[in-house]
């Protein structure tokens, strides 16, 4: 009996030791898994930060390049054209008036003005110094000139001064709406109404062909406009129908909380 009792004790001890070893092995596995999981999360976060920094750097590089192009246009090309203008003016002052020279001088003056305006547009430093209202006014004037359509701007109360990030996205949304109207709507007029609020409301209405929203392509910019507005705390509403033009209403969401 003593012999079998000893065997029983040995068996039980061995059983417990095996359980302990298995428990230790499983615990080690769990520790390895937890560490790996944490490292993976840290790596993913680092990768995301890196991607964001790369995007920011690319954006800065692009803005810098555009700024340099703008300055070059304004300074060098503008200066050269100004020299040509001065020369033509001197010729006209010295000699008999010549209709062709007058026309050339007029075209040159227009060219100088266009180059300076383009330089201001490309120079992002200048853009950031401008208010949202100035940016919208300039863009409306450009659309009138380029698209040969009316783009009257109605302002009801000065808009608030948005942070630069919001101003950038809001202006890009406005540009996209204007661009869509120019390209697709066959409109003769795009009315822009800006209400400083609160709440701030930007309304862009064209008298074009309109469209059935359900038939817009799946890759259309409509979702892009709505998504960008939602990102910066605005709501984008589209009212359109075939033959009834198209109206975008961009409203700040501060009114939702009220």
């Amino acid at each position: 009996m003593t012999g079998t009792s000893d065997i029983a004790v040995v068996v039980i001890i061995a059983f417990l030791v095996m359980l302990l070893l298995i428990g230790t092995a499983v615990l080690s596995l769990i520790i390895v898994y937890t560490r790996r999981h944490r490292h993976r999360s840290e790596l993913a976060e680092l990768q995301l930060q890196r991607d964001q920094e790369v995007i920011a750097a690319e954006r800065e590089a692009t803005q810098q390049t555009l700024g340099e192009v703008g300055r070059e246009l304004h300074d060098n090309v503008g200066q050269l054209l100004t020299v040509a203008q001065i020369g033509l003016t001197a010729v006209l002052d010295d000699g008999a008036p010549d209709g062709r020279l007058h026309a050339s001088l007029s075209a040159l003056e227009d060219g100088i003005e266009e180059v300076r305006r383009l330089g201001r547009t490309l120079n992002s430093d200048t853009w950031h110094d401008r208010s949202f209202l100035d940016a919208v006014s300039t863009e409306a004037a450009r659309v009138e000139r380029v698209g040969r359509i009316g783009a009257p701007l109605l302002i009801t109360g000065p808009p608030p001064e948005f942070p630069p990030d919001i101003k950038t996205v809001l202006f890009r949304v406005f540009q996209e709406i204007m661009s869509n109207s120019l390209r697709h709507a066959k409109a003769t007029t795009i009315r822009i109404a800006l209400d400083g609020g609160p709440p701030f409301v930007l309304r862009v209405q064209d008298n074009g062909t309109g469209f059935a929203e359900t038939q817009a392509g799946s890759g259309s910019g409509l979702a892009n406009i709505r998504r960008r507005c939602a990102l910066i705390g605005f709501r984008a509403e589209l009212v359109t129908a075939p033959g009834a033009g198209c109206t975008w209403i961009i409203q700040h969401r501060s009114s939702d909380a009220a």
Partner: protein
């Protein structure tokens, strides 16, 4: 023990198709285990010898779990076959040595248990390295854990079983309760892992 095996079988039956090879083999092993336990209980109640049934089951179980290990890419094809053949030879030799159909092939059972413990520890390690989501929601983790606990802890209990049955049957039957406890833990763990799959909406995972 029967209830834990039954729960495991029911959980396996509820798995959404398609079932991988590994899961099909697991299902076969669960069904065979249930049948063997029922038959063993019936034989025991009728005081008929049932050691031959469990000897046969040890062989079938080892082959099925080897196959499952191969399906989970834990073993290459050739090694699986070599181990299976070697085990069959070992069992045959032990049966010949014992020349008693009512004796358990404890040596073969112990060796198979150690082999399977090593294999399924490897499965646990593999899951810890590969699983991206929570480890405790991985079906294969629970299957591996059940097998490791059962086969790892049963070895010291099974190894002296023949000697104890011959010298102290009461002690042998007492120690057998440990095996039953381990069995319950094994099948509850497998059943828990299997029932995680439909809830997570996942196709059953393989390595």
């Amino acid at each position: 023990m029967l209830s834990s095996i039954t729960w495991a079988v029911v959980a396996w039956r509820r798995l959404p198709p398609p079932r991988t090879t590994a899961l099909r083999l697991l299902g076969v092993q669960l069904c065979v285990a249930l049948v063997v336990e029922v038959l063993g209980t019936v034989l025991s109640l009728n005081h008929a010898p049932n050691a031959w049934l469990y000897d046969l089951y040890i062989v079938v179980e080892f082959i099925l779990l080897l196959g499952m290990a191969h399906a989970l890419h834990l073993l290459p094809y050739r090694t699986t076959w070599i181990l299976a053949c070697a085990f069959l030879v070992l069992v045959s030799l032990e049966v010949f040595r014992l020349r008693d159909t009512d004796a358990l092939v404890v040596m073969s059972a112990s060796l198979s248990a150690l082999t399977l413990t090593g294999l399924y520890l490897r499965l646990l390690w593999q899951r810890a390295e590969r699983v991206r989501g929570p480890l405790f929601r991985d079906q294969l983790f629970w299957t591996g854990l059940g097998h490791v606990i059962f086969f790892g802890a049963m070895t010291p209990v099974v190894a002296p079983m023949d000697l104890l049955i011959a010298t102290d049957p009461f002690l042998a039957s007492s120690l057998y309760y440990l095996l039953q406890f381990l069995c319950c833990v094994r099948y509850f763990a497998i059943a828990w892992g299997l029932q995680l799959v439909p809830r997570a909406g996942l196709v059953p995972s393989t390595a």
